[in-house]
Symmetry: C2
């Protein structure tokens, strides 16, 4: 079996576990200063008086780290991880000492009606920290090539 997964290799319920990523305050501030320069993401002292009560990562930083972890999860998907979109939720803030890991499950696999060479997979990815707290839930629609394109 190939090292890479095609649409035919994906089944509902299939699970994947990513490597881990250790976050710290410097990474949180570096991302935020470029993309989300709000006090609760850039300054510990200022963050205390905000909704978050302390420094928290931008949700988009959590999303970006999740992408990095998904891209390094084995086995990979043929053609790469190409998302058409999805739903994202951040049930609680990501904090400076969090170690992130992503567990994913295939929820749906469907061939394309119009494109014989590919299909769509729906995948639910939970990003948790070292205490098992769920920081992000992403349900993504992935474009996945077929190993054997069918005539239509």
């Amino acid at each position: 079996m190939s090292d890479l997964l095609y649409l035919e290799d994906l089944v509902v319920g299939q699970k994947f576990t990513s490597p881990m990523h250790a976050l710290d305050a410097a990474q949180i501030k570096a991302f935020a200063s470029q993309f989300d320069p709000q006090p609760f993401h850039t300054d510990e002292a200022a963050a205390k008086a905000t909704f978050f009560g302390g420094l928290a990562a931008s949700g988009w930083h959590t999303a970006a780290i999740t992408m990095k972890l998904l891209a390094s999860t084995k086995p990979g998907i043929a053609g790469g991880l190409i998302g058409a979109g999805g739903e994202i939720a951040w049930p609680q803030p990501t904090r400076p000492d969090d170690v992130l890991q992503v567990t994913s499950e295939i929820l749906e696999v469907k061939p394309s009606r119009s494109k014989p060479e590919r299909g769509m997979a729906v995948m639910r990815s939970e990003t948790k920290n070292q205490r098992g707290e769920v920081l992000q839930i992403l349900t993504s629609r992935l474009i996945v090539p077929k190993r054997r394109p069918e005539a239509i």
Copy 2:
């Protein structure tokens, strides 16, 4: 009227337009090398043979730039832009020469049932390039403080 918007200041149909952000290949590769190191995001030549047919930004890079543009849109929201989650779609790839701008519209405003000091706003944000092509549609649930918390 204050420079910052509270829940009471938001109305369905209200629109906001962000500043602009000019992208380039170096930014695309820098983000991708850190968070989404796939060939179609990191290497022009390798990208040609992929689904994208050329260098494209990671969807999460488009999302991060969108956040930056939303954070610098005036007037701002009191307490900052705090998202609980939402839906995201990337109808087409973001390319190296794109100039991004975000137009947003308030779709829904609802006080919290349990928290007298805040509520939720649903906002639809379209990220377009200089040709008006829609690169990202984000429908986000924002946590917005009230100017005058009510007793419940």
